[in-house]
């Protein structure tokens, strides 16, 4: 596995051959192609993009070179987990990757503020309040959501959310969420008699 940070994204780096073999299953938004000839890494770009990278046009792939050989695009910038010779090296590389991600996540370009509506369910209000408090650029977390990011982001327009999606959100956004189950009050018949704590989400998807 090879990774590289270019701009505000961390990309899976693959060879052209690996791309041809697996293109149906790749998340192209987070995939970059390395070119051993030019010693550069080219993120796969969409048709409406104009940044340096590789533009897939069916029969041909057109490369737009970075200006002045921007070192972020250099093959030397790749973190290669495959060549780690020990567990220590793997941990060091993971740490390096985490630091790269931290830099991306803590440099927001566009703060995402979901609107809390009067018909929002309590769990939706909780999620939206947490996101507002985090003061984040949600798009920078898109890699955490995978291919479904656009659909998941649209859920913030709804006034309710399923438990499954709520857990996905919490995990992707590094939010720990705990469900407390207890008696409604002391006088209910057949009381539970204690508080039951259930951790719904406690870390990132990567952990």
């Amino acid at each position: 596995m090879e990774k590289s940070k270019i701009g505000d994204k961390i990309y899976d780096v693959i060879t052209p051959e690996e791309y041809n073999q697996n293109k149906e299953s790749l998340n192209l938004t987070f995939t970059a192609i390395k070119d051993e000839g030019t010693q550069m890494v080219y993120p796969i770009r969409g048709k409406n993009d104009d940044r340096p990278g590789i533009y897939m046009n069916g029969l041909i792939n057109i490369i737009k070179e970075p200006e002045d050989g921007d070192p972020e695009y250099s093959i030397d910038n790749i973190i290669n987990f495959d060549d780690a010779k020990s567990l220590k090296e793997v941990i060091e590389k993971q740490s390096e990757l985490k630091n790269m991600e931290r830099i991306i996540l803590t440099n927001p370009d566009n703060i995402f503020i979901p609107r809390i509506g009067e018909n929002d369910s309590p769990e939706m209000i909780g999620l939206k309040k947490a996101v507002i408090a985090k003061h984040i650029d949600l798009d920078k977390y898109s890699a955490r959501f995978g291919n479904n990011y656009s659909n998941d982001k649209r859920l913030f327009n709804d006034d309710t959310i399923t438990m499954s999606k709520l857990k996905t959100m919490f995990q992707a956004l590094d939010i720990k969420a705990t469900l407390i189950i207890e008696d409604k009050d002391y006088s209910v018949p057949n009381p539970i008699g204690e508080q039951i704590f259930v951790e719904l989400a406690g870390g990132t998807l990567n952990e």
Partner: protein
């Protein structure tokens, strides 16, 4: 007529879908440019003073479509260097006997083609296995346009500046197709020697 003013790019982008791929018309000339550049570059590498050398594009069944060929012509006065000739043709009969022939499926040529693609327009073929079919389609689309636009008593010409001029005329009821390389490509082939 300039290549960009013809319908060739649109027709090519329609026909390429038969190979299960697509390309936007505005990029079609990338393929044409790189083919003719590569043919010239390749022959510049493999040319010989002893024997004429040709690069031939043919379909999978071996049906001839196009050739680029280079030959050396010694000067009668041996103290004076001879000349190189460089030609394109749609006619198999233009390739003489005792010509060293390379096919467009030749690995060395395909490497040169990849280099031309990169040097000219910084692109690569997404599916390299389709390249031989694409080269045939390039020639077929070009020749088809000439064929459809041939007019009695008038020569129809297409120019892809920097690469070739192709034309068709009707003589005695027969369509005569021709294609000549641009001067830039001739210089590319000749290297340090002189062309006719």
């Amino acid at each position: 007529m300039n290549f960009n003013e013809t319908s060739i790019a649109t027709k090519f982008s329609q026909d390429i879908t038969n190979l299960g791929v697509d390309i936007q018309p505005q990029y079609t000339h990338y393929l044409f440019d790189s083919l003719f550049m590569a043919a010239s570059d390749f022959l510049g590498i493999v040319k010989s003073r002893e024997v004429k050398t040709a690069l031939v594009i043919a379909d999978l069944k071996g049906n001839f479509r196009f050739a680029a060929q280079v030959g050396y012509h010694k000067n009668e006065n041996e103290e004076i260097p001879g000349n190189w000739s460089f030609e394109f043709t749609f006619n198999e009969s233009d390739i003489g006997k005792d010509v060293k022939i390379y096919n467009s499926t030749d690995t060395q040529f395909l490497r040169v083609l990849a280099t031309s693609a990169k040097d000219l327009h910084n692109f690569r073929y997404a599916s390299p296995e389709l390249v031989p079919d694409v080269l045939v389609l390039i020639i077929d689309t070009l020749k088809s346009w000439l064929d459809l636009n041939a007019v009695e008593g008038e020569e129809k010409t297409i120019e892809l500046p920097g690469f070739f001029t192709a034309s068709v005329a009707i003589e005695n009821g027969e369509k005569i197709f021709s294609i000549t390389p641009d001067g830039n490509l001739k210089r590319l082939v000749k290297g340090d020697s002189e062309l006719e």
